[in-house]
Amino acid sequence: MSTITPEVVAAHSLTPDEYQKVLSLLGREPSLTELGIFSVMWSEHCSYKSSKIHLKKLPTRSQLVILGPGENAGIIDIGQGYGIAFKIESHNHPSFIEPFQGAATGVGGILRDIFTMGARPIAVLDSIRFGPLDDPQTGPRNRRILEGVVAGIAHYGNCFGVPTVGGECVFHKSYDGNPLVNVFALGVIPKDKIFFGRAEGIGNPVIYVGAKTGRDGIHGATMASDEFTEESKQKRPNVQMGDPFLEKLLLEACIEAMHSGAVVGIQDMGAAGLTCSTCEMGSRAGTGVEIDLMHVPQRETGMTPYEIMLSESQERMLLVAEKGREQEIFDIFDKWGLDAATVGVVTDDGMLRVRNHGELIAEINNRDLADEAPLYDRPHTKPHRNVPMEAPDFASTDLKADLIKLLSSGDLCSKRWIYEQFDYMVRTNTLAGPGGDAAIIRIKETGTSVAVSLDGNGRYCYLDPREGAKLVVAEACRNVSTVGALPVAATNNLNFGNPQRPEIMAQLVEAIEGMADACAFFETPITGGNVSLYNETLGEGILPTPVIGIVGLLPTQAPVPSRFQAEGLTVMLLGGIGSSDEVHFGGTQYAYVLLKQMWGLPPALDMAVEKNVHLAIREIDAAGLAASAHDLSDGGFAVALAEASFDGIGAAVILPPSSLRPELLLFHEAPSRILLSTNSPEEVSKIADKLGVPTQVIGKTVKGQVVIEGHLSAAIEELQQPWASALENALHA
């Protein structure tokens, strides 16, 4: 009698067609364990089956790229024999079900991706999104989720000893039942010591190291590939538990083992655990892997082969060692107090063969699992949008009050309550931490520093996924350039709803294409990333939210501050005041916060102009001409001017004559603009002119005041106090 009924197949989230493909690949009916193995490897999370054909459009190469997508993390060359490995990954679904552990293990997972390559992690950034904290119905739950996520990230990163140096925190109703937790990690690696997840060398031992296997996280990857329903809360056992201390030991032991020369290949056990690591390592090397589960260190008694293969217990790695050198590996792991056990051997037949006390449990071709997952060219129509093109009537009665409301809104207010819970300084490399345009991390080994910015904008992408994605890339490159760094590479996290809905699939396709265009134009190839689909609860999708992480390089030196530092300096707008109109105002913070509406289109971007602004600010920074520089983005000019004043030095400015009405003039979000202060305005203009970038001298820095002639005047304190206290007030409401 067959145990694999259609119900069992459906419970594994495989479609009838997918099951037919399993049958034809195997040439027989799978065992339950084999079905479980197929289901996780072919899940959206592991196989990228809905996005893969579109991801191929992304640029992935440049002279600096050592390693592009396909491995655990991308690597770029930073010179002097070193590279940096980095990637972003989501833990959205687990963070909704269990915020603390969901976020903590999100950090743990991406850190393992980095040190699996042989890189020592030196920085984490996070991009997190929640439902509104002040919503009468969902506010209390959103507050709990935020507090849990922040505490989870802090717990894991602080204890592991990696600084959490920046990121973004954004609120929107569409994240109510579906928070986004995207974690970026970056590590430094000697170029001649890069390790791959490959099971090379027939007869080499396969060694399991790290934490024991328990029943936690079984089918986490499949869960992450489903929409949420009312039953989702019962999936709590699908969420893993993190142990950052164990991970710290695992890092030190793995790096020591790698440097011993006895390690041939290594891969972390993340999503789909032992299953994914065995078949992927075999598939990449074109080899087979045979393991016996009786050797797997286990935390619980009576675990079935199904449970052992599918467990997502954290802090585990699988490595292939040189035959005969097992003892060296065991000695290193013993020094760090960690389990290490030979669980199998590399074979020549390309098969994943799983035994339990000798009995054959599963026998599947590695390539069938890792490379033969179904690929879908899902139908895509017009991107979903349900807002008008035309602007509503609106008129401000008090621009200063508007500015204060914006500064104390969720997206724009100070995130100090969050980032002070993160140790952002450990390892003493943080030249610029949270709160600036980009974080800057020094690489002690080379005299080079790395600037990183994470950026996403769901409202822009909802109004126009293609242009929105371009704007997101442009802004992150602008952030990195503003601190003086040359953007060189990118990693992306694509957070979308259900790809089986053509209007959602269209959002994904257009966003990928927009991102591809922009990354090619700004010369920031995407070296890896993550796709998170099915971000829907009860049929309601999130705003399409592609998040980009841009990495830039600069010489190690004191950073250019984003805030005004001295009185009497000339204040300039590099890129000018920019242009906008009512239609292109519909995705701004002003529309969202003050008018509580969304309409029209995102701001218009001219990538050529944008790139010249980047060139100009980098040259200005390199020449030491900028006393401060801060890019204009969410909230537009007035918000940037206020933010730049929060060290106590403000500015008195007169904006040039403009046909824009005051609300647009002060708050429109056209890109390609940077606010700077300088004592050499002529030199700055010379550089800008040479590159064809418009500049405007708009005023002088002054003590204690923010004045925009004819529009508003405020003491800095009037603006700063609401900005500084808003998040804490909202959390403790």
Binding site: N158, C159, K248, Q421, M425, V426, R427, T428
Partner: protein, 223 residues
């Protein structure tokens, strides 16, 4: 002049202390593994760095105090050797009885990472002898359990004996009497929650931490 930097599994600030001492102070340093049972004879002073020794799952420093290296450090201290514990190092020193009192959860119940101002309360110590009395130092804190607490008579005694080395200008964590750092009666063991090793490099925004290392070197030279 050579520092020994203790390394526990989970000592995250060991590299930072080693880097500050060797690169910013210009002294020598070696790492002392937690399972070593003696302090090498060429070590002049010991740093117990910050981090999460053994994960600190039970209580900060509660496991570390049983380690072989802490027995060795205790002997070193009893023989008059100079010992500095920063952050988790301070927690370990109180747990192991080398310093009085205890560090408990911050009053706001959250981890806090930020630069704070610290006042030098005494220059009568080998760790502050080149500072000026009342000097304000800007040093980072990064801890979840940094609220210094002790019985009132212990606090009175610390004050009477001029053993409060540092006080917070603005108390961030609820520490009793704003205490940020103390020394033992023999004045050769210092514990403090802020991180001087993170304020030793101009690129990190403050070099106010250097005064501790320079003082220590000066006092060793005077011996």
């Amino acid at each position: 002049m050579k520092f020994g930097v203790v390394v526990f599994p989970g000592s995250n600030c060991d590299h930072d202390a080693h880097y500050a001492v060797t690169q910013n102070v210009g002294a020598q340093a070696s790492l002392l593994w937690h399972q070593e049972s003696s302090v090498p004879s060429d070590v002049d002073a010991i740093i117990i760095p910050g981090g999460f020794s053994y994960g600190d799952y039970l209580r900060c420093g509660a496991i570390a105090k049983f380690s072989p290296i802490i027995s060795a450090v205790t002997k070193f201290a009893h023989a008059g050797g100079l010992v500095m514990g920063f952050c988790n190092g301070f927690q370990i020193l109180t747990e192991s009885g080398l310093l009085p009192g205890a560090l408990i959860r911050n009053s706001a119940l959250k981890f806090i990472c930020r630069p704070i101002d610290l006042r030098v309360e005494t220059t009568n110590s080998p760790f502050t002898n080149t500072a000026t009395p009342g000097q304000i130092l800007s040093l980072p804190i990064a801890h979840g359990e940094g609220c210094y607490t002790a019985e009132p008579h212990v606090l009175d005694q610390l004050e009477a004996e001029d053993r409060v080395v540092f006080r917070y200008v603005k108390n961030p964590n609820g520490s009793l009497r704003d205490i940020a750092g103390i020394c033992n009666a023999q004045r050769n063991v210092l514990g403090m929650m802020p991180h001087p090793e993170r304020a030793a490099d101009p690129l990190m925004g403050s070099t106010d931490g250097l005064v501790l290392f320079h003082s220590l070197i000066a006092s060793l030279a005077a011996k």
